[in-house]
């Protein structure tokens, strides 16, 4: 069992947690968090793959790392857009949450 494997398994657990949040959340914010955690788990598995690809004097494969960095920033922007939609919805119907 290597360190990369341990974190890949942690990533699998995160993906499970995220799925659970996505399926059970009563409100939109819970689903946003669940989706982010699901994505974080997938990124972490990707990171473990990068770590396994260490070689040529580099501690990890830089290509997946670069993709994860852009992924984190894009995921954040999507989250901010979703939150803006949520707040607009709240302002529009005053009730706070949409019906599930």
């Amino acid at each position: 069992m290597s360190d990369a494997m341990l974190y890949a398994l942690a990533g699998a657990m995160l993906a499970g947690c995220g799925t659970y949040g996505l399926l059970t959340a009563g409100g939109a914010l819970g689903r946003i968090l669940g989706f982010n955690i699901l994505g974080g788990g997938v990124f972490l598995i990707f990171g473990a793959v990068a770590r396994r690809g260490a070689g040529a004097g580099l501690a990890a494969d830089p290509v997946p790392q670069a993709l994860v960095i852009t992924g984190i920033v894009v995921a954040f922007c999507a989250t901010a857009l979703a939150v803006a939609l949520l707040l607009r919805l709240k302002a529009a119907d005053g009730a706070g949450e949409e019906e599930p």
Binding site: L14, G16, G18, L23, L33, A56, A60, V74, F76, A80
Partner: protein, 305 residues
């Protein structure tokens, strides 16, 4: 011993994630999510990916907190909607399936590390991740910049018609109280210094445009929170110029590559590093400003002249 540490860190990340998805109150869930971001940063540090760790810390525990805490304010606690036992079964199946896939990863692991290391000296950079982002896969970075702009257009599109040129809702309703203002006054200069350092160091050490942009965005938001700077207007021309500097700077460098090096997004031989650095500065400014604006949300109020 390091494996014990890794196992513990992995379990803590999963525990924080579980707390975030099972918390009943929205604000408690968001606080757990912020803790999960810090722990995920540690995981990236252990995966020998300090560049990703810096990004995750700056975004996951920093500016995400501002957006999500703001969204959680005033939201009622909603009871879980679906059949929880079924959802748990599906989630465990997803986790076990991924775990099985992970354990079946091919040996030896496929890797582009050797290619990246071999091509890196041609760029004049010392950090392979920056090399991938700005030289070998610059097209991805260009498209990513455009996605960020689209997200901002999406946020701005939510403004009500008569207000769309104005300023967004303030982060603090009214003036910030003294302790928060003090915190901002102390942290913002230090943070701007750290952000500039990350950009400068990013050529040869972990760091770069994304980490620096996220840090600068966090500091900008802190300054706006404390009222140290006026909220930006959506129709400010200088603001739009900075927003476009990143994608169009990269695009210009791309066309320059056609003229000087014979391919789109190829950098002129001999001048790779200076051109990459200039483009990186433009990208950093655009990322920082875009992140600030998507966090602030749609324009909501017109200032009466």
């Amino acid at each position: 011993m390091s494996l014990v540490f890794d196992a513990l860190a992995g379990l803590l990340v999963a525990g924080a994630a579980l707390a975030a998805v099972t918390a009943a109150a929205p604000r408690a869930a968001v606080i757990a999510f912020m803790g999960y971001g810090v722990l995920l940063g540690l995981a990236w540090a252990r995966l020998a990916a300090p560049d990703v760790a810096l990004t995750e810390i700056a975004i996951g525990s920093g500016i995400s907190g501002i957006v999500l805490l703001r969204a959680a304010a005033g939201l009622p606690a909603v009871p879980p909607a679906a059949n929880r036992a079924l959802a748990a079964a599906i989630s465990v199946a997803v986790a076990l399936g991924l775990a099985a896939l992970v354990l079946a990863l091919p040996e030896p692991a496929p890797s582009r590390a050797a290619d990246a290391a071999a091509a890196l000296p041609a760029t004049g950079l010392g950090n392979p991740v920056t090399g991938v982002l700005l030289a070998f896969r610059a097209l991805d970075t260009l498209l990513e910049k455009i996605v960020l702009l689209l997200a901002l257009v999406g946020v701005w599109a939510l403004a009500r018609d008569p207000l769309w040129r104005g300023r967004p809702e303030p982060l603090f309703a009214g003036a910030a109280p003294a302790p928060s203002a003090f915190l901002a006054r102390v942290l913002v200069p230090i943070g701007v210094l750290v952000g500039a350092y990350l950009l400068w160091a990013g050529a040869d050490a972990p760091g770069g445009a994304f980490q620096s942009g996220a840090t600068l965005a966090a500091m900008g938001l802190l300054a706006l929170m404390a009222g140290l700077a006026p909220l930006p207007r959506a129709d400010d021309r200088r603001l739009r110029l900075v927003l476009l500097a990143g994608p169009f700077g990269l695009l210009a460098a791309g066309f320059l590559g056609w003229a000087t090096a014979g391919a789109f997004l190829a950098f002129p031989p001999g001048f790779e590093k200076p051109v990459i650095k200039i483009v990186e500065i433009a990208i950093t400014a655009s990322i920082a400003l875009t992140l600030i604006l998507v966090v602030l949300g749609p324009p909501a109020g017109e200032e009466r002249p």
